[in-house]
Amino acid sequence: MSTTDIIDTLAGIEPGSALDAIRARRLQARENAQKSYLSLFEPIDAGDVSLVERAAVALFVIGLHRESTVAAFYRAKLAATADGARLIEAIEVEIGRGETSGPYGAFPAGPLSVENKAGLIYRVSADRKAVLGARLAAAFEHAHLLVFRPRDAASTDMKALLAAGWSSTGIVTFSQLVAFLSFQVRVVTGLQVLGASLGRTANAVAGA
């Protein structure tokens, strides 16, 4: 790997620690979670989704999860991306407007309808649309759906993205980006929680 493992860094996993050893037993998963990150943020071909669009979506998605360590990482990433820093303020306002709790949404009409759960249908504010542009505004609205109410997704959502200037390949990359981040932030948080419990056990033993 040419760069530090992002999940280890964000979860605070030290070389030689118990969690480092456990992660080493799933080496292919560890290396390919990293390759997924690299292929999304350092792609061979950024023609369908620009680097600044990727970093902006990442900050928005992770901000909605309210995981501060991971959000700080993607905020710094956007700040370091050409044309990115100017977007941060607008994105943080939109994160505040989009915050809610999921998953919610509707099931196909039938016996599962009793489990339908209503919730926020997020739309970018008119003011920020001017800053973000049509492509990113459409992307944020779809990203919010993917984060909080993926079961609401419909073919019309694909049409909205196509109408906002997203190509079919761009939609695939953008969907992978949001879905990957949903995975990454959960692995990081899960490992942080497990790591903290190990720390407590170790301290308890040391103190006994």
């Binding site: 992660r23 998963a29 390759k35 309210r66 073919s155 695939v172 992978q176 497990l194």
Partner: protein
């Protein structure tokens, strides 16, 4: 756009085999290059509409596929395959992915031989009582799937009480987290059909 007229969407969670129909155009098989085949990992996946759609970004698909395979198929140690599949099925049930739930409920049934319990997870939802160990796996998966993430020290303590060691808990975290990736693709790029 696909021919929506031919789609017959399931309206309940099921262990039956379902098809999946894309809402945007997959790459035609005839247009696949070696770069695409590398992304597909298994050449046979060129027959699948889902993978021919995802292969529009071959590098991401390749890395995603290899992550998936190691999390679920590497059973040299750690959590039994059945319980990794249970984590995947519970996550899919909670997020509402009928297609993903069907595939991984079938795998959970096959590897655990507890088809009726798996069916209760699908029928009753993530609150079904499946015994201490499975309940702990389901509850941890659900807590991880929530946004904001609700997984905390109580989930770890419950998994330990149910007999899972730390490497098995990491397998639960990986398996459940991975389905927050898979569910979002399956739910948003197309739909299941009976």
């Amino acid at each position: 756009m696909s021919a929506a007229n031919n789609v017959n969407p399931p309206v309940v969670f099921t262990q039956d085999e379902l098809a999946w129909v894309s809402w945007i155009d997959p790459l035609p098989e005839a247009e696949l290059t070696e770069r695409h085949f590398a992304g597909l990992v298994d050449r046979a996946r060129a027959k699948s509409e889902y993978f021919r759609l995802l292969v529009r970004d071959p590098e991401v698909l390749e890395a995603r596929t290899k992550t998936d395979k190691d999390i679920f198929y590497n059973v040299a140690d750690g959590l039994p395959r059945a319980e990794r599949e249970l984590a995947a099925a519970a996550t899919s049930r909670y997020n509402g992915c009928i297609y993903c739930a069907s595939v991984h409920a079938r795998f959970a049934s096959t590897y655990s031989k507890r088809r009726d319990d798996v069916q209760r997870l699908l029928d009753e939802g993530v609150g079904a009582d499946l015994g201490e160990r499975w309940n702990a796996v389901v509850k941890a998966s659900v807590a991880l799937a929530a946004t904001p993430i609700a997984f905390g020290p109580d989930n770890v303590a419950e998994l330990r009480r149910a007999g899972l060691d730390d490497s098995e808990i990491v397998d639960v975290i990986n398996g459940a987290s991975f389905f927050n990736w898979a569910n979002r693709l399956m739910l948003s790029l197309g739909e299941p059909s009976k």
